[in-house]
């Protein structure tokens, strides 16, 4: 992923120029520089450390470090923590930090990807009906109770329902929104189809909730977003989809740059814009659906983190996508620490925290940076 500049002195015109020359402009390919990458990695590491060291249970950081080292085979340090505290570190905090990195990274990556595919800075990962589809499915499962009535006999759990619901909604949006004449018009049609599908499914969700008002608390608790871990279960659920989605999206980051000149020009440059677009959307939606299935609807991360990166690090997707992934994970990890510590022993829904702290921070960056935001 690191790019190294290729540079040789003594430029002379003519056929003597050999391959491997970057010319008088000295420009490298647009891409992620080592500096930014290292910075983002550092942010991830710091956020993870914060997530492990801080929490409602005050544990001495060194003891936490010792317990983490104990996880390595062959290491057996005495950290001085009792069983409960060890369980807190290894079975609660560690999986939770990993989950936050995965979910935050996935949401930010998907957000950046959507913004590139739709060439619209207001696109976020919930755009094509993911939120509404997952919400309706989860409401149905919670309200209709598998085993009683409608869903008798089905081994349905909330994460599974959310995943299927999210993907189903995206599929519906795709069916309704494609086939429009003209290459660029299909983007707008897709977005509009997403809006329509979201509205329809959200109405269904509201109706179900009204009929089963006693389940409101449970449903809203899920809707507001929560990084609750039951050991490594959630991480195992998300990981395969997140990896697939990340690999596909990152592999196509150069294509996203080409797509930024519009479908027609991208086609004249030899790309297949429709195919690229749908592949990218499918991958991003898969990752988002997986993230949503374990953590509910966490807004803001997918919309704002790519913008933040765009403001400070440049507008090539080769920079935006990897940085968004890393910084989104770090951001969510830090906000999770806040969510579970500030009102301890109670927990604030993480979607509220991300918006509460992220929005002012974004405004601050907006005002202090020289680059203009393009809308």
């Amino acid at each position: 992923m690191l790019r190294t500049p290729v540079r040789r002195p003594g430029w002379r015109p003519g056929p003597q120029r050999a391959a491997g020359w970057s010319g008088p402009t000295g420009r490298r390919r647009p891409g992620l520089t080592a500096g930014w990458f290292a910075g983002a990695l550092a942010a991830v590491v710091l956020a993870a450390l914060a997530g492990l060291a801080f929490g409602p249970a005050s544990l001495p950081p060194l003891a936490v470090a010792a317990e983490l080292l104990n996880l390595l085979p062959g290491v057996d340090l005495d950290s001085g923590l009792n069983d409960r505290q060890v369980a807190i570190v290894t079975q609660l905090r560690l999986p939770r930090v990993v989950l936050a990195l995965l979910v935050g990274g996935m949401l930010a990556l998907a957000g950046g990807c959507y913004q590139g595919v739709f060439r619209n800075p207001l696109a976020d990962p919930h755009l094509l009906g993911v939120a509404a589809g997952a919400g309706l499915a989860v409401t149905a499962v919670i309200a209709l109770r598998p085993g009683t009535g409608v869903l008798t006999g089905l081994p349905v759990t909330v994460p599974l329902a959310a995943f299927v619901g999210a993907l189903g909604a995206v599929g519906l949006t795709y069916l309704l929104g494609t086939g429009a004449a003209g290459p660029d018009r299909s983007t707008a049609t897709l977005i509009l189809a997403g809006v329509a599908v979201s509205a329809f499914l959200a109405a269904g969700q509201t109706y179900l909730l009204q009929r089963h008002v006693d389940t409101i608390r449970e449903v809203y608790s899920w809707l507001l977003g929560r990084l609750a871990t039951d050991g490594w279960h959630e991480v195992r659920l998300v990981l395969p989809y997140a990896v697939i989605a990340a690999v596909v999206v990152l592999a196509h980051r150069r294509e996203l740059d080409v797509l930024s000149v519009g479908d027609e020009e991208a086609a004249s440059l030899g790309l297949h814009p429709q195919r690229s677009r749908y592949l990218l959307l499918a991958a991003a939606s898969l990752g988002t659906a997986a993230a949503v299935s374990v953590s509910g609807l966490i807004g803001f991360v997918g919309l704002i983190v790519p913008h933040l990166v765009r403001l400070v690090a440049g507008s090539s997707y080769r920079v935006i996508l990897p940085l968004s992934m890393l910084l989104g994970g770090a951001f969510l990890t830090v906000t999770d620490v806040v969510a579970r510590t500030v009102a301890a022993p109670a927990e604030i829904p993480i979607g509220v925290v991300t918006a509460f702290f992220g929005a002012p921070f974004f405004v601050l960056v907006l005002r202090t940076t020289r680059r203009t935001v393009a809308l």
């Binding site: 929490g55 919400g135 959200a202 608390r217 449970e218 929560r226 609807l297 927990e347 918006a355």
Partner: protein
């Protein structure tokens, strides 16, 4: 649910949660079979007690004894049947599953419909909350309404039973019931074991770790028995509504001695499922087998079966103190 503004939607949802949580809990009753309930009020109910009509309770005046009562609150249903007014009840809401002979209908206590209620030609409607201008609507139809809101203390419960007794013409039965409840509870509380250090408890409303503080009705019962609530620091004054959602880490760190599950029916939780949660096996309550499975309905209502709830709590404390 607007999706286009995550922040606004999220805050809106938070506001609705707070409101809805309170609302849901007041009349929370999961669909399920009404399992054999505890004892009803003491017998000796004389249906034609010389209750003097017209009777006035607060703003409400009834000229004659009501014969077609519609109850839209499971607690009110239990109270009515316990004081011997069961014959006078024409319809109850869909969540009223106790006692079994209650005439359950499809009326909803949460989203009530004035016309549907009026269709039963009630001469008294008992509600636990006024949503959608229901009281105003019924009043306009000249239907008497008695608002039996969620109790905050046991005194509210006793008052509601007494008032319902007066309204339905069973004042003596109601008084007997109240006396019995009082004495039962007092006895339970005085006889319970008092360990040197108060035991702590965690009360679970659902598997996402929603709980109650001591400022709530349920919480106050536990306080009466001498237990301390691990969720109290989250909302000491009760200003946030009294129903916080805990983080697993805080819960495990607090290490409650007792765990009470009020989500056994709605969410299929029991001692085994709790023990399997990551990290929970290190909690004292789990290790000592002090996870109490309550009946969701009993735990969420403030009617005559409150005594059973207190009894369950006391039994758990005794068992814990003995071990």
């Amino acid at each position: 649910m607007s999706r286009s503004h995550p922040l606004r939607a999220a805050l809106l949802r938070t506001a609705v949660v707070a409101t809805a949580a309170a609302l849901a809990l007041t009349g929370c009753g999961q669909a399920g079979d009404g399992s054999g309930g505890p004892d009803d009020a003491q017998p000796g109910v004389s249906p034609e007690t010389a209750a003097s009509y017209p009777v006035t309770v607060g703003d409400l005046t009834l000229e004659v004894r009501p014969e077609r009562i519609v109850a839209l609150s499971p607690t009110a249903t239990e109270m009515l049947f316990a004081i011997g007014a069961g014959d006078q009840v024409a319809a109850v809401d869909d969540n009223s599953n106790h006692p079994a002979e209650a005439p359950t209908t499809e009326l909803s206590g949460f989203t009530p419909n004035v016309e549907a209620i009026a269709g039963y030609e009630p001469d008294l409607v008992v509600l636990s909350g006024d949503t959608n201008e229901l009281v105003a609507g019924l009043t306009r139809l000249s239907i008497p309404v008695y608002l039996a809101e969620a109790a905050v203390t046991l005194d509210d419960t006793y008052r509601q039973i007494t008032e319902l007794g007066a309204l339905t013409g069973h004042p003596e039965a109601a008084a007997d019931l109240v006396d019995t409840m009082r004495s039962d509870i007092d006895k339970l509380v005085s006889d319970v074991a008092h360990p040197a250090e108060p035991l702590s408890y965690y009360y679970e409303l659902d598997p996402t770790l929603y709980t109650v503080t001591s400022e709530t009705f349920v919480g106050s019962l536990f306080t009466m028995v001498g237990l301390t609530n691990i969720a109290d620091p989250a909302d000491p004054s009760g200003e946030a509504g009294g129903y916080p959602q805990l983080s697993a880490e805080a819960l495990i760190d607090a290490n409650p001695d007792l765990i009470f599950l009020a989500d056994t029916k709605c969410c299929q939780q029991n001692a085994q499922t709790v023990a399997q949660r990551a990290g929970w096996s290190t909690i004292t309550a789990v290790q000592a087998g002090q996870v109490v499975e309550l009946d969701d309905d009993v735990a969420s209502r403030w009617g005559p079966r409150v005594v059973d709830l207190v009894r369950a709590i006391v039994d758990a404390v005794d068992a814990a103190a003995a071990s």
